[in-house]
Amino acid sequence: MMDGLEALQVLTRIRTDEIVVLSESTRQDWPPLSTKPDLDIGITGSMSKASSFGLGLALARPDVRVWVLDTDGAMLMNMGSLVSTASAGPANLVHFLYDNGAYDTTGGQPTPGSRKVNFGEIAMAAGYRRAVTFESVEALAREIEDVLEGPLPALVWLKVASRGRRADMRMKRMRESFVTIRDYLAAHPPAR
């Protein structure tokens, strides 16, 4: 099992211009590490729909790479979105799963099936093109760039330790991030 912050640091080092869509625990852990906060959006208040938002974004802009940094509790709550995403098949979407086995935002209670559910097999059965699992930062750093090359959509399952409840990191409000990203994409249209 990895330290979650170290795992996220691997991603920040290789990130270029991806739009990053955040869910519950990643909405807390990613912002202090992010090098491009203007291209991040934390999805709140929709019963864990970060993956669905990421799907819409990826379909609207196939030229833009979209990373969804989902969490285990959120994925359990929106499991059908795996099938919706696989069915639409965006080739520009990487679906990370930051699996800490717990509802950290509410105090660290275990999620249903904590550490037992095989999310990789579920994603492949739903129709994802690829699913890979990382339990060490070294393996993640060594192999992630190859995974990002495709085929996509892919699930990248990051098994990380629970960090328990922590202070909210106060990222930008969702509406503000939404407008920033919408305007950024409008200013950077697809190449013709």
């Binding site: 929709s46 019963m47 729909k49 669905s52 799907l55 990826a58 609207a60 969702m174 509406r175």
Partner: protein, 163 residues
């Protein structure tokens, strides 16, 4: 008076709709065929609550989606409507199958029909009932209203689609 699926889809095309985020309901027998033949891309979801978030992502990316679901699915989508449609101020048309509605003067026996408009009123979402092809202009007008106010608008499909 009939409500033809092709007339509805034609109105969506004229309004420049790019994507229809959709989960079938009992009112949409002929709609799938009409959508497949259209220029709009169909995005299927597994549960209605996904549809608002998918639409939000599409709008962030510059697309012009509509959501097409049934009233019962709208009830299930409560927090997505609050968190996505309302908090993000989405210029989004929600096309909602009005289950249990048989006309303005007929009793609403089905609770799905009784609660729909009061709930939309509670959320402050303007809504219009579409009864026949002659009302299809309400679709374009609803889209314009949503764009101008940057706010969701609902068109309630009060009649089963015809071929």
């Amino acid at each position: 008076m009939a409500l033809q699926a092709a007339a509805v889809v034609g109105e969506l095309e004229r309004a420049g709709v790019t994507h229809i985020v959709w989960l079938p309901d009992s009112e949409t027998g002929y709609m799938y065929e009409a959508m497949q033949a259209s220029q709009c891309r169909i995005v299927q979801v597994c549960r209605e609550g996904e549809s608002m978030a998918v639409a939000a992502g599409l709008i962030a990316g510059g697309a012009k989606p509509v959501v097409l679901i049934q009233s019962t699915g709208l009830f299930e989508s409560g927090d997505s409507i609050r968190g996505m449609c309302l908090d993000l101020q989405l210029p989004l048309l929600l096309m909602v199958g009005y289950r249990g509605y048989f006309g303005p003067d007929r009793p609403k026996v089905d609770s799905a029909a009784r609660y729909l408009e009061p709930i939309l009123d509670a959320w402050g979402i303007p809504h219009h009932v579409l009864h026949s092809d002659a009302d299809c202009h309400l679709i374009s007008e609803g889209i314009c209203q949503a764009q101008e106010k940057s706010h969701p608008v609902a068109v309630l499909i009060g009649q089963e689609y015809d071929q």
